[in-house]
Amino acid sequence: MQKPSAERAISDRLAAWFTDQGATLVEADILLPAETLLDLYGEDIRARAYMTVDPVQGEMMLRPDFTVPVVQQHMAGGADPAIYAYSGAVFRKQTHAGDRPSEYHQAGIEIFRRDMPEDSDARVFALIAQVLRDHGLTLRPVTGDIGILMAAVRGLATTDRRKQALLRHIWRPQRFRALLDRFSGRAPLPEARKHLLDRLAKGSPADLIAQAGTFTGLRSEAEIAARAQALTEDAQTPPLNAPEAALLYDLLSLEAPSRAALSHLRGIAPMLPAIIPAVDRFAVRLDALAAHGIDTETLPFEASHGRTSLEYYDGFVFSFHADDPTLPPVASGGRYDALTAVLGQGKSIPAVGGVIRAGLMARLMGDQILGDGP
Protein backbone atom coordinates (compact mmCIF):
# COMPACT_ATOMS: atom_id res chain seq x y z
CA MET A 1 0.00 0.00 0.00
CA GLN A 2 1.38 3.40 -0.98
CA LYS A 3 1.39 6.20 1.56
CA PRO A 4 -1.20 8.85 0.68
CA SER A 5 1.58 11.45 0.41
CA ALA A 6 3.19 9.50 -2.47
CA GLU A 7 -0.17 9.37 -4.25
CA ARG A 8 -0.67 13.11 -3.83
CA ALA A 9 2.90 13.87 -4.96
CA ILE A 10 2.44 11.88 -8.17
CA SER A 11 -0.96 13.46 -8.83
CA ASP A 12 0.46 16.98 -8.38
CA ARG A 13 3.46 16.14 -10.56
CA LEU A 14 1.17 14.92 -13.36
CA ALA A 15 -0.88 18.13 -13.22
CA ALA A 16 2.33 20.18 -13.22
CA TRP A 17 3.48 18.31 -16.32
CA PHE A 18 0.13 19.05 -18.02
CA THR A 19 0.69 22.76 -17.27
CA ASP A 20 4.14 22.49 -18.85
CA GLN A 21 2.29 21.31 -21.98
CA GLY A 22 0.20 24.47 -21.99
CA ALA A 23 -2.63 23.80 -19.54
CA THR A 24 -3.79 26.24 -16.85
CA LEU A 25 -3.97 24.77 -13.35
CA VAL A 26 -7.47 25.03 -11.82
CA GLU A 27 -9.01 24.13 -8.48
CA ALA A 28 -12.50 22.88 -7.69
CA ASP A 29 -14.57 22.77 -4.50
CA ILE A 30 -14.60 19.45 -2.68
CA LEU A 31 -18.11 20.04 -1.37
CA LEU A 32 -20.47 20.50 -4.33
CA PRO A 33 -24.21 21.21 -4.53
CA ALA A 34 -25.85 17.86 -5.18
CA GLU A 35 -28.65 19.07 -7.41
CA THR A 36 -26.61 19.48 -10.62
CA LEU A 37 -25.04 16.05 -10.25
CA LEU A 38 -28.37 14.42 -9.39
CA ASP A 39 -29.98 16.02 -12.45
CA LEU A 40 -27.16 14.71 -14.63
CA TYR A 41 -26.76 11.20 -13.31
CA GLY A 42 -30.07 10.50 -11.60
CA GLU A 43 -30.47 8.29 -8.59
CA ASP A 44 -27.49 6.06 -9.52
CA ILE A 45 -25.06 8.70 -8.27
CA ARG A 46 -26.35 8.27 -4.69
CA ALA A 47 -24.96 4.74 -4.68
CA ARG A 48 -21.55 6.03 -5.77
CA ALA A 49 -21.09 9.49 -4.22
CA TYR A 50 -21.09 10.66 -0.61
CA MET A 51 -24.10 12.81 0.12
CA THR A 52 -24.62 15.09 3.06
CA VAL A 53 -27.04 17.83 4.03
CA ASP A 54 -26.08 21.42 4.60
CA PRO A 55 -28.54 23.27 6.86
CA VAL A 56 -28.70 26.24 4.47
CA GLN A 57 -27.63 24.96 1.04
CA GLY A 58 -29.47 21.64 1.14
CA GLU A 59 -28.09 18.39 -0.26
CA MET A 60 -24.35 18.46 -0.95
CA MET A 61 -21.99 15.91 -2.42
CA LEU A 62 -18.29 15.17 -1.96
CA ARG A 63 -16.63 15.73 -5.36
CA PRO A 64 -17.07 12.46 -7.33
CA ASP A 65 -15.05 13.81 -10.28
CA PHE A 66 -13.55 17.05 -11.55
CA THR A 67 -15.22 17.27 -14.92
CA VAL A 68 -18.53 18.76 -13.80
CA PRO A 69 -17.09 21.54 -11.58
CA VAL A 70 -14.39 22.35 -14.18
CA VAL A 71 -17.03 22.60 -16.94
CA GLN A 72 -19.17 24.83 -14.71
CA GLN A 73 -16.21 27.13 -14.03
CA HIS A 74 -15.42 27.29 -17.72
CA MET A 75 -19.01 27.97 -18.77
CA ALA A 76 -19.22 30.76 -16.17
CA GLY A 77 -16.58 32.74 -18.05
CA GLY A 78 -13.47 30.86 -19.05
CA ALA A 79 -11.18 31.77 -21.93
CA ASP A 80 -12.08 30.32 -25.34
CA PRO A 81 -10.27 28.10 -26.22
CA ALA A 82 -8.85 26.82 -22.93
CA ILE A 83 -6.83 23.91 -21.58
CA TYR A 84 -7.10 23.07 -17.87
CA ALA A 85 -5.20 20.74 -15.59
CA TYR A 86 -6.07 19.73 -12.04
CA SER A 87 -5.02 17.44 -9.23
CA GLY A 88 -6.93 16.47 -6.12
CA ALA A 89 -8.97 13.97 -4.19
CA VAL A 90 -12.23 12.50 -5.44
CA PHE A 91 -14.62 10.41 -3.39
CA ARG A 92 -16.51 7.30 -4.49
CA LYS A 93 -18.42 4.87 -2.28
CA GLN A 94 -17.24 1.29 -2.75
CA THR A 95 -20.13 -1.14 -2.40
CA HIS A 96 -17.96 -4.22 -1.92
CA ALA A 97 -15.46 -4.91 0.79
CA GLY A 98 -11.97 -4.89 -0.71
CA ASP A 99 -8.95 -2.73 -1.25
CA ARG A 100 -10.47 -0.23 -3.69
CA PRO A 101 -10.13 3.15 -1.99
CA SER A 102 -13.14 5.40 -1.52
CA GLU A 103 -10.90 8.50 -1.47
CA TYR A 104 -8.20 8.77 -4.10
CA HIS A 105 -6.28 11.32 -6.13
CA GLN A 106 -6.94 12.13 -9.75
CA ALA A 107 -4.88 14.29 -12.09
CA GLY A 108 -6.61 15.39 -15.25
CA ILE A 109 -6.63 17.55 -18.33
CA GLU A 110 -9.60 19.09 -20.17
CA ILE A 111 -9.52 20.88 -23.55
CA PHE A 112 -12.32 23.31 -24.52
CA ARG A 113 -11.90 24.21 -28.15
CA ARG A 114 -14.30 24.81 -31.04
CA ASP A 115 -12.15 23.96 -34.07
CA MET A 116 -10.35 20.73 -34.92
CA PRO A 117 -12.04 18.53 -32.27
CA GLU A 118 -10.28 15.38 -33.55
CA ASP A 119 -6.93 17.05 -32.94
CA SER A 120 -7.96 17.82 -29.33
CA ASP A 121 -9.09 14.19 -28.89
CA ALA A 122 -5.72 12.99 -30.14
CA ARG A 123 -3.82 15.48 -28.01
CA VAL A 124 -5.50 14.43 -24.74
CA PHE A 125 -4.98 10.76 -25.54
CA ALA A 126 -1.35 11.26 -26.60
CA LEU A 127 -0.45 13.37 -23.56
CA ILE A 128 -1.85 10.75 -21.19
CA ALA A 129 -0.19 7.91 -23.13
CA GLN A 130 3.12 9.74 -22.99
CA VAL A 131 3.07 10.55 -19.30
CA LEU A 132 2.15 6.96 -18.43
CA ARG A 133 4.98 5.69 -20.61
CA ASP A 134 7.42 8.22 -19.14
CA HIS A 135 6.65 6.70 -15.72
CA GLY A 136 7.67 3.30 -16.99
CA LEU A 137 4.15 1.86 -17.23
CA THR A 138 3.16 -0.46 -20.07
CA LEU A 139 -0.62 -0.33 -20.21
CA ARG A 140 -3.19 -1.60 -22.68
CA PRO A 141 -5.19 1.23 -24.29
CA VAL A 142 -8.79 0.77 -25.47
CA THR A 143 -10.63 3.36 -27.56
CA GLY A 144 -14.14 3.79 -28.82
CA ASP A 145 -16.48 6.35 -30.36
CA ILE A 146 -19.99 6.76 -29.01
CA GLY A 147 -20.62 9.32 -31.78
CA ILE A 148 -20.71 6.56 -34.40
CA LEU A 149 -23.30 4.59 -32.44
CA MET A 150 -25.42 7.72 -31.90
CA ALA A 151 -25.23 8.57 -35.60
CA ALA A 152 -26.31 5.04 -36.49
CA VAL A 153 -29.34 5.32 -34.21
CA ARG A 154 -30.27 8.76 -35.57
CA GLY A 155 -30.08 7.38 -39.09
CA LEU A 156 -32.45 4.45 -38.55
CA ALA A 157 -35.51 4.41 -40.80
CA THR A 158 -38.01 4.55 -37.94
CA THR A 159 -39.98 7.02 -35.84
CA ASP A 160 -38.37 9.82 -33.86
CA ARG A 161 -39.93 8.37 -30.74
CA ARG A 162 -38.05 5.09 -31.18
CA LYS A 163 -34.81 6.89 -31.97
CA GLN A 164 -35.16 9.07 -28.87
CA ALA A 165 -35.86 6.00 -26.71
CA LEU A 166 -32.67 4.34 -27.99
CA LEU A 167 -30.56 7.49 -27.64
CA ARG A 168 -31.76 8.02 -24.06
CA HIS A 169 -30.37 4.59 -23.15
CA ILE A 170 -27.17 4.67 -25.19
CA TRP A 171 -25.19 4.47 -21.89
CA ARG A 172 -27.32 1.62 -20.49
CA PRO A 173 -26.41 -1.32 -22.75
CA GLN A 174 -28.94 -3.74 -21.23
CA ARG A 175 -32.00 -1.53 -21.73
CA PHE A 176 -30.70 -0.33 -25.10
CA ARG A 177 -30.48 -3.95 -26.18
CA ALA A 178 -34.00 -4.71 -24.89
CA LEU A 179 -35.40 -1.76 -26.85
CA LEU A 180 -33.50 -2.72 -29.97
CA ASP A 181 -34.73 -6.32 -29.68
CA ARG A 182 -38.31 -5.07 -29.47
CA PHE A 183 -38.04 -2.44 -32.24
CA SER A 184 -36.45 -4.98 -34.58
CA GLY A 185 -39.11 -7.62 -33.83
CA ARG A 186 -36.65 -10.02 -32.19
CA ALA A 187 -38.46 -9.82 -28.84
CA PRO A 188 -42.23 -10.35 -28.72
CA LEU A 189 -44.60 -7.70 -27.44
CA PRO A 190 -45.37 -8.34 -23.73
CA GLU A 191 -48.78 -10.00 -23.17
CA ALA A 192 -50.05 -7.08 -21.09
CA ARG A 193 -49.18 -4.67 -23.90
CA LYS A 194 -51.06 -6.80 -26.46
CA HIS A 195 -54.04 -6.91 -24.14
CA LEU A 196 -53.94 -3.13 -23.65
CA LEU A 197 -53.69 -2.51 -27.39
CA ASP A 198 -56.75 -4.71 -27.95
CA ARG A 199 -58.70 -2.75 -25.39
CA LEU A 200 -57.51 0.61 -26.78
CA ALA A 201 -58.73 -0.49 -30.21
CA LYS A 202 -62.25 -0.83 -28.76
CA GLY A 203 -62.46 2.02 -26.25
CA SER A 204 -60.92 5.42 -25.61
CA PRO A 205 -58.12 5.83 -23.04
CA ALA A 206 -60.51 7.93 -20.92
CA ASP A 207 -62.97 5.01 -20.75
CA LEU A 208 -60.25 2.54 -19.82
CA ILE A 209 -58.90 4.87 -17.12
CA ALA A 210 -62.40 5.27 -15.68
CA GLN A 211 -62.90 1.48 -15.68
CA ALA A 212 -59.54 0.86 -14.01
CA GLY A 213 -60.68 2.29 -10.67
CA THR A 214 -60.25 5.37 -8.54
CA PHE A 215 -57.88 7.91 -10.07
CA THR A 216 -54.89 8.82 -7.89
CA GLY A 217 -51.62 10.66 -8.28
CA LEU A 218 -50.05 13.61 -10.00
CA ARG A 219 -49.69 12.04 -13.46
CA SER A 220 -52.76 13.39 -15.26
CA GLU A 221 -55.36 11.63 -17.36
CA ALA A 222 -54.07 13.62 -20.35
CA GLU A 223 -50.54 12.30 -19.81
CA ILE A 224 -51.81 8.72 -19.57
CA ALA A 225 -53.99 9.16 -22.68
CA ALA A 226 -51.05 10.67 -24.59
CA ARG A 227 -48.86 7.67 -23.86
CA ALA A 228 -51.69 5.26 -24.69
CA GLN A 229 -51.99 7.02 -28.04
CA ALA A 230 -48.24 6.77 -28.52
CA LEU A 231 -48.37 3.02 -27.80
CA THR A 232 -51.09 2.55 -30.39
CA GLU A 233 -49.04 4.45 -32.95
CA ASP A 234 -45.91 2.51 -32.04
CA ALA A 235 -47.76 -0.79 -32.51
CA GLN A 236 -48.49 0.28 -36.08
CA THR A 237 -44.84 1.14 -36.70
CA PRO A 238 -43.16 -1.59 -38.75
CA PRO A 239 -40.08 -3.24 -37.22
CA LEU A 240 -36.65 -1.93 -38.20
CA ASN A 241 -35.81 -3.39 -41.55
CA ALA A 242 -33.71 -6.51 -41.16
CA PRO A 243 -30.49 -5.34 -42.86
CA GLU A 244 -30.48 -2.10 -40.85
CA ALA A 245 -31.06 -3.94 -37.56
CA ALA A 246 -28.34 -6.45 -38.45
CA LEU A 247 -25.90 -3.61 -39.11
CA LEU A 248 -26.67 -2.04 -35.74
CA TYR A 249 -26.11 -5.35 -33.91
CA ASP A 250 -22.89 -5.74 -35.90
CA LEU A 251 -21.80 -2.25 -34.92
CA LEU A 252 -22.47 -2.88 -31.21
CA SER A 253 -20.10 -5.85 -31.23
CA LEU A 254 -17.36 -4.35 -33.42
CA GLU A 255 -13.92 -4.84 -31.81
CA ALA A 256 -10.81 -4.52 -33.96
CA PRO A 257 -7.52 -2.65 -34.29
CA SER A 258 -8.39 0.95 -35.22
CA ARG A 259 -7.41 0.92 -38.92
CA ALA A 260 -9.16 -2.42 -39.46
CA ALA A 261 -12.22 -1.03 -37.63
CA LEU A 262 -12.17 1.98 -39.95
CA SER A 263 -12.13 -0.29 -43.02
CA HIS A 264 -15.02 -2.26 -41.60
CA LEU A 265 -17.03 0.91 -40.91
CA ARG A 266 -16.24 2.22 -44.42
CA GLY A 267 -17.57 -1.08 -45.70
CA ILE A 268 -20.94 -0.82 -43.95
CA ALA A 269 -21.34 2.97 -44.38
CA PRO A 270 -23.05 2.73 -47.82
CA MET A 271 -25.80 0.66 -46.18
CA LEU A 272 -26.00 3.01 -43.16
CA PRO A 273 -25.19 6.36 -44.76
CA ALA A 274 -26.08 8.33 -41.61
CA ILE A 275 -22.81 7.20 -40.03
CA ILE A 276 -20.62 8.57 -42.85
CA PRO A 277 -19.87 11.95 -41.16
CA ALA A 278 -19.04 10.17 -37.85
CA VAL A 279 -16.83 7.65 -39.66
CA ASP A 280 -15.09 10.54 -41.44
CA ARG A 281 -14.38 12.11 -38.05
CA PHE A 282 -13.05 8.76 -36.83
CA ALA A 283 -10.67 8.72 -39.84
CA VAL A 284 -9.52 12.29 -39.17
CA ARG A 285 -8.93 11.35 -35.51
CA LEU A 286 -6.82 8.35 -36.46
CA ASP A 287 -4.65 10.59 -38.65
CA ALA A 288 -4.36 13.08 -35.77
CA LEU A 289 -3.40 10.26 -33.37
CA ALA A 290 -0.79 9.03 -35.87
CA ALA A 291 0.58 12.58 -36.13
CA HIS A 292 0.94 12.52 -32.32
CA GLY A 293 3.02 9.36 -32.60
CA ILE A 294 0.32 6.77 -31.77
CA ASP A 295 0.41 3.50 -33.72
CA THR A 296 -3.14 3.41 -35.10
CA GLU A 297 -2.56 0.08 -36.86
CA THR A 298 -2.57 -1.69 -33.50
CA LEU A 299 -4.59 0.73 -31.30
CA PRO A 300 -7.60 -1.31 -30.05
CA PHE A 301 -11.05 0.02 -30.97
CA GLU A 302 -14.34 -1.22 -29.47
CA ALA A 303 -17.54 0.40 -30.72
CA SER A 304 -19.34 -0.20 -27.39
CA HIS A 305 -16.47 1.05 -25.21
CA GLY A 306 -17.49 3.68 -22.66
CA ARG A 307 -21.15 2.67 -22.54
CA THR A 308 -21.57 2.53 -18.78
CA SER A 309 -23.89 4.47 -16.53
CA LEU A 310 -22.53 7.56 -14.75
CA GLU A 311 -20.94 8.65 -18.00
CA TYR A 312 -21.62 11.55 -20.29
CA TYR A 313 -19.30 10.87 -23.22
CA ASP A 314 -20.79 11.36 -26.68
CA GLY A 315 -17.78 10.97 -28.98
CA PHE A 316 -14.23 9.64 -28.62
CA VAL A 317 -13.65 7.54 -25.49
CA PHE A 318 -10.53 5.85 -24.19
CA SER A 319 -9.01 4.07 -21.22
CA PHE A 320 -5.69 2.56 -20.20
CA HIS A 321 -5.62 -0.78 -18.36
CA ALA A 322 -3.13 -2.76 -16.30
CA ASP A 323 -2.78 -6.52 -16.87
CA ASP A 324 -4.77 -7.33 -13.74
CA PRO A 325 -8.43 -7.28 -14.90
CA THR A 326 -9.71 -6.71 -11.36
CA LEU A 327 -8.12 -3.25 -11.28
CA PRO A 328 -10.04 -0.18 -12.47
CA PRO A 329 -8.60 1.65 -15.50
CA VAL A 330 -5.43 3.58 -14.67
CA ALA A 331 -6.58 6.41 -16.92
CA SER A 332 -9.78 7.16 -18.82
CA GLY A 333 -11.51 9.97 -20.65
CA GLY A 334 -13.46 11.12 -23.64
CA ARG A 335 -15.40 13.80 -25.44
CA TYR A 336 -18.48 15.32 -23.78
CA ASP A 337 -19.84 18.08 -26.03
CA ALA A 338 -23.44 17.63 -24.87
CA LEU A 339 -22.52 18.00 -21.20
CA THR A 340 -21.28 21.55 -21.75
CA ALA A 341 -24.67 22.44 -23.25
CA VAL A 342 -26.50 20.92 -20.27
CA LEU A 343 -24.32 22.83 -17.80
CA GLY A 344 -23.89 25.96 -19.94
CA GLN A 345 -27.42 27.39 -19.62
CA GLY A 346 -27.76 28.05 -23.32
CA LYS A 347 -24.06 28.13 -24.14
CA SER A 348 -21.98 25.17 -25.20
CA ILE A 349 -18.46 24.35 -26.36
CA PRO A 350 -16.91 21.11 -27.62
CA ALA A 351 -14.79 19.55 -24.89
CA VAL A 352 -12.61 16.51 -24.28
CA GLY A 353 -10.67 15.39 -21.23
CA GLY A 354 -9.13 12.57 -19.30
CA VAL A 355 -7.99 11.61 -15.81
CA ILE A 356 -5.25 9.47 -14.32
CA ARG A 357 -5.65 7.59 -11.01
CA ALA A 358 -2.43 8.59 -9.30
CA GLY A 359 -2.67 6.06 -6.46
CA LEU A 360 -3.09 3.15 -8.84
CA MET A 361 -0.20 4.46 -10.90
CA ALA A 362 2.00 4.63 -7.78
CA ARG A 363 1.03 1.06 -6.89
CA LEU A 364 1.81 -0.25 -10.38
CA MET A 365 5.13 1.61 -10.46
CA GLY A 366 6.00 -0.03 -7.14
CA ASP A 367 4.99 -3.45 -8.54
CA GLN A 368 7.11 -2.95 -11.64
CA ILE A 369 10.14 -1.92 -9.58
CA LEU A 370 9.68 -5.05 -7.45
CA GLY A 371 9.11 -7.09 -10.60
CA ASP A 372 12.39 -5.91 -12.07
CA GLY A 373 14.33 -7.46 -9.16
CA PRO A 374 16.33 -10.68 -9.45
Partner: protein
Amino acid sequence: MIKIGVPSKGRLMEKTFDWFGARGVTLRLAGAEREYSGAVDGIDGVELVLLSAGEIPRELAAGRIHLGVTGSDLVREKLADWPSQVAELAPLGFGHADLIIAVPVSWIDVDTLDDLDAVAAAFRKAHGFRLRIATKYHRLVRDFLTTHGVADYQLVDSQGATEGTVKNLTAEAIADITSSGETLRANHLKILSDADIHASQAVLFLSHQAEWTADGRAILAALAKKLRVTVPKT
Protein backbone atom coordinates in the same frame (compact mmCIF):
# COMPACT_ATOMS: atom_id res chain seq x y z
CA MET B 1 -21.28 -18.61 25.36
CA ILE B 2 -22.81 -17.50 22.06
CA LYS B 3 -25.56 -14.92 21.68
CA ILE B 4 -28.60 -15.30 19.46
CA GLY B 5 -30.69 -12.24 18.60
CA VAL B 6 -34.43 -12.78 18.11
CA PRO B 7 -37.22 -10.27 17.33
CA SER B 8 -38.57 -8.99 20.63
CA LYS B 9 -42.28 -9.05 19.91
CA GLY B 10 -45.20 -10.04 17.74
CA ARG B 11 -45.71 -12.89 15.32
CA LEU B 12 -42.08 -12.89 14.24
CA MET B 13 -41.02 -13.66 17.84
CA GLU B 14 -43.72 -16.31 18.33
CA LYS B 15 -42.96 -18.05 15.04
CA THR B 16 -39.24 -18.00 15.80
CA PHE B 17 -39.89 -19.57 19.21
CA ASP B 18 -42.07 -22.21 17.48
CA TRP B 19 -39.39 -22.99 14.90
CA PHE B 20 -36.69 -23.54 17.53
CA GLY B 21 -39.14 -25.36 19.82
CA ALA B 22 -40.01 -27.87 17.09
CA ARG B 23 -36.28 -28.73 17.00
CA GLY B 24 -35.87 -29.22 20.73
CA VAL B 25 -34.49 -25.80 21.59
CA THR B 26 -36.85 -23.84 23.79
CA LEU B 27 -36.59 -20.07 23.60
CA ARG B 28 -38.76 -18.25 26.14
CA LEU B 29 -39.26 -14.93 27.83
CA ALA B 30 -37.96 -14.76 31.37
CA GLY B 31 -38.37 -12.26 34.16
CA ALA B 32 -41.29 -9.95 34.70
CA GLU B 33 -43.97 -9.26 32.12
CA ARG B 34 -42.83 -6.65 29.56
CA GLU B 35 -39.19 -7.23 30.58
CA TYR B 36 -37.02 -7.94 27.52
CA SER B 37 -35.20 -10.84 29.01
CA GLY B 38 -35.03 -14.36 27.60
CA ALA B 39 -33.85 -17.85 28.42
CA VAL B 40 -32.81 -20.89 26.38
CA ASP B 41 -33.49 -24.52 27.38
CA GLY B 42 -32.39 -27.69 25.64
CA ILE B 43 -28.82 -26.58 24.93
CA ASP B 44 -26.05 -25.09 27.04
CA GLY B 45 -24.06 -21.98 26.30
CA VAL B 46 -26.63 -20.07 24.23
CA GLU B 47 -27.86 -16.70 25.44
CA LEU B 48 -31.09 -15.21 24.06
CA VAL B 49 -31.03 -11.48 23.23
CA LEU B 50 -34.35 -9.84 22.36
CA LEU B 51 -34.02 -7.05 19.84
CA SER B 52 -36.06 -5.08 17.33
CA ALA B 53 -36.01 -7.04 14.03
CA GLY B 54 -34.78 -3.90 12.28
CA GLU B 55 -31.70 -3.70 14.53
CA ILE B 56 -30.66 -7.33 14.20
CA PRO B 57 -28.77 -6.80 10.86
CA ARG B 58 -26.68 -4.05 12.45
CA GLU B 59 -25.95 -6.15 15.57
CA LEU B 60 -24.88 -9.08 13.36
CA ALA B 61 -22.63 -6.82 11.28
CA ALA B 62 -21.04 -5.40 14.44
CA GLY B 63 -20.52 -8.91 15.81
CA ARG B 64 -22.35 -8.14 19.05
CA ILE B 65 -24.52 -11.23 18.46
CA HIS B 66 -23.29 -14.50 16.93
CA LEU B 67 -26.59 -15.56 15.40
CA GLY B 68 -29.75 -13.66 14.61
CA VAL B 69 -33.23 -14.11 13.18
CA THR B 70 -34.53 -11.36 10.93
CA GLY B 71 -36.06 -10.74 7.51
CA SER B 72 -33.84 -11.42 4.50
CA ASP B 73 -35.04 -8.07 3.10
CA LEU B 74 -33.68 -6.18 6.11
CA VAL B 75 -30.23 -7.77 5.84
CA ARG B 76 -29.98 -6.97 2.12
CA GLU B 77 -31.20 -3.43 2.65
CA LYS B 78 -29.13 -2.52 5.69
CA LEU B 79 -25.83 -4.32 5.04
CA ALA B 80 -23.62 -3.38 2.09
CA ASP B 81 -22.18 -6.47 0.40
CA TRP B 82 -24.15 -8.57 2.90
CA PRO B 83 -22.62 -11.99 2.04
CA SER B 84 -19.26 -10.68 3.24
CA GLN B 85 -20.77 -9.83 6.64
CA VAL B 86 -23.27 -12.60 7.41
CA ALA B 87 -24.13 -16.12 6.24
CA GLU B 88 -27.61 -17.57 5.82
CA LEU B 89 -27.89 -20.70 7.97
CA ALA B 90 -31.53 -21.53 7.30
CA PRO B 91 -34.65 -19.99 5.83
CA LEU B 92 -37.34 -20.35 8.51
CA GLY B 93 -40.39 -20.57 6.24
CA PHE B 94 -42.41 -17.74 7.73
CA GLY B 95 -42.57 -13.94 7.56
CA HIS B 96 -43.04 -14.13 3.79
CA ALA B 97 -43.34 -10.80 2.01
CA ASP B 98 -42.45 -9.57 -1.45
CA LEU B 99 -40.71 -6.31 -2.21
CA ILE B 100 -42.48 -4.97 -5.29
CA ILE B 101 -43.09 -1.76 -7.23
CA ALA B 102 -46.66 -0.47 -7.49
CA VAL B 103 -48.25 2.31 -9.55
CA PRO B 104 -51.77 3.79 -9.68
CA VAL B 105 -54.43 1.48 -11.20
CA SER B 106 -55.37 4.41 -13.41
CA TRP B 107 -52.03 4.06 -15.23
CA ILE B 108 -53.58 1.79 -17.85
CA ASP B 109 -50.45 2.13 -20.00
CA VAL B 110 -48.07 0.71 -17.38
CA ASP B 111 -47.47 -2.97 -16.62
CA THR B 112 -43.68 -3.51 -16.84
CA LEU B 113 -40.38 -1.84 -15.94
CA ASP B 114 -40.10 -0.90 -19.59
CA ASP B 115 -43.34 1.09 -19.22
CA LEU B 116 -42.22 2.64 -15.94
CA ASP B 117 -38.98 3.79 -17.55
CA ALA B 118 -40.80 5.33 -20.54
CA VAL B 119 -43.29 7.06 -18.24
CA ALA B 120 -40.43 8.39 -16.09
CA ALA B 121 -38.87 10.07 -19.14
CA ALA B 122 -42.17 11.67 -20.19
CA PHE B 123 -43.02 12.65 -16.60
CA ARG B 124 -39.71 14.46 -16.16
CA LYS B 125 -40.31 16.42 -19.37
CA ALA B 126 -43.86 17.35 -18.36
CA HIS B 127 -43.26 18.17 -14.69
CA GLY B 128 -39.62 19.29 -14.57
CA PHE B 129 -38.60 16.79 -11.90
CA ARG B 130 -37.83 13.08 -11.81
CA LEU B 131 -40.66 10.63 -11.13
CA ARG B 132 -40.78 9.93 -7.39
CA ILE B 133 -40.82 6.41 -5.96
CA ALA B 134 -41.57 6.28 -2.22
CA THR B 135 -39.78 3.54 -0.26
CA LYS B 136 -37.78 2.66 2.80
CA TYR B 137 -35.75 0.07 0.83
CA HIS B 138 -33.37 2.51 -0.85
CA ARG B 139 -30.46 0.16 -1.50
CA LEU B 140 -32.54 -2.77 -2.81
CA VAL B 141 -34.74 -0.62 -5.04
CA ARG B 142 -31.90 1.48 -6.46
CA ASP B 143 -29.72 -1.57 -7.20
CA PHE B 144 -32.67 -3.25 -8.88
CA LEU B 145 -33.57 -0.26 -11.05
CA THR B 146 -29.92 0.36 -11.96
CA THR B 147 -29.49 -3.28 -13.00
CA HIS B 148 -32.58 -3.03 -15.17
CA GLY B 149 -31.57 0.29 -16.73
CA VAL B 150 -34.46 2.42 -15.47
CA ALA B 151 -33.68 6.15 -15.53
CA ASP B 152 -35.24 9.52 -14.67
CA TYR B 153 -36.67 8.49 -11.30
CA GLN B 154 -35.87 9.53 -7.75
CA LEU B 155 -36.37 7.72 -4.47
CA VAL B 156 -38.18 9.58 -1.70
CA ASP B 157 -37.97 8.23 1.80
CA SER B 158 -41.12 6.81 3.37
CA GLN B 159 -40.84 4.93 6.65
CA GLY B 160 -44.53 4.07 6.95
CA ALA B 161 -47.96 4.35 5.30
CA THR B 162 -46.06 4.26 2.01
CA GLU B 163 -49.19 3.27 0.04
CA GLY B 164 -50.70 6.66 0.93
CA THR B 165 -47.93 8.75 -0.64
CA VAL B 166 -49.39 8.56 -4.15
CA LYS B 167 -52.80 9.86 -3.06
CA ASN B 168 -51.02 12.57 -1.03
CA LEU B 169 -49.09 13.58 -4.16
CA THR B 170 -45.71 13.12 -2.50
CA ALA B 171 -44.82 10.23 -4.85
CA GLU B 172 -45.94 8.82 -8.21
CA ALA B 173 -45.15 5.18 -7.41
CA ILE B 174 -44.06 3.09 -4.43
CA ALA B 175 -41.71 0.22 -3.67
CA ASP B 176 -42.73 -1.69 -0.57
CA ILE B 177 -43.23 -5.15 0.89
CA THR B 178 -46.61 -6.77 0.52
CA SER B 179 -47.99 -10.17 1.44
CA SER B 180 -51.62 -10.13 0.31
CA GLY B 181 -51.73 -6.91 -1.72
CA GLU B 182 -54.86 -5.75 0.11
CA THR B 183 -53.43 -2.43 1.25
CA LEU B 184 -52.25 -1.75 -2.29
CA ARG B 185 -55.72 -2.37 -3.72
CA ALA B 186 -57.34 -0.25 -1.03
CA ASN B 187 -55.08 2.60 -2.09
CA HIS B 188 -55.80 2.14 -5.81
CA LEU B 189 -52.37 0.77 -6.66
CA LYS B 190 -51.33 -2.20 -8.82
CA ILE B 191 -48.10 -4.23 -8.93
CA LEU B 192 -45.72 -4.16 -11.90
CA SER B 193 -45.56 -7.63 -13.45
CA ASP B 194 -41.76 -7.87 -13.79
CA ALA B 195 -40.49 -5.99 -10.74
CA ASP B 196 -40.12 -8.71 -8.08
CA ILE B 197 -37.24 -7.07 -6.28
CA HIS B 198 -36.92 -9.58 -3.45
CA ALA B 199 -39.00 -12.42 -1.98
CA SER B 200 -38.36 -12.01 1.72
CA GLN B 201 -38.75 -14.39 4.65
CA ALA B 202 -37.36 -14.83 8.14
CA VAL B 203 -33.85 -16.32 8.06
CA LEU B 204 -31.40 -17.51 10.72
CA PHE B 205 -28.14 -15.62 10.06
CA LEU B 206 -24.60 -16.14 11.32
CA SER B 207 -22.29 -13.19 11.94
CA HIS B 208 -18.80 -13.40 10.40
CA GLN B 209 -17.71 -10.48 12.53
CA ALA B 210 -18.58 -12.01 15.93
CA GLU B 211 -15.77 -13.50 17.96
CA TRP B 212 -15.87 -17.28 17.36
CA THR B 213 -13.80 -18.96 20.07
CA ALA B 214 -13.18 -22.72 20.05
CA ASP B 215 -15.79 -22.93 22.80
CA GLY B 216 -18.27 -20.89 20.75
CA ARG B 217 -17.73 -23.07 17.67
CA ALA B 218 -18.40 -26.20 19.70
CA ILE B 219 -21.67 -24.71 20.97
CA LEU B 220 -22.58 -23.68 17.40
CA ALA B 221 -21.89 -27.22 16.14
CA ALA B 222 -24.13 -28.70 18.84
CA LEU B 223 -26.87 -26.17 18.14
CA ALA B 224 -26.62 -26.69 14.37
CA LYS B 225 -26.99 -30.44 14.86
CA LYS B 226 -30.17 -29.96 16.90
CA LEU B 227 -31.54 -27.46 14.38
CA ARG B 228 -30.47 -29.67 11.45
CA VAL B 229 -28.71 -26.83 9.66
CA THR B 230 -25.28 -26.79 7.99
CA VAL B 231 -22.69 -24.32 9.20
CA PRO B 232 -20.64 -22.84 6.33
CA LYS B 233 -16.87 -23.03 6.61
CA THR B 234 -15.38 -19.68 7.56
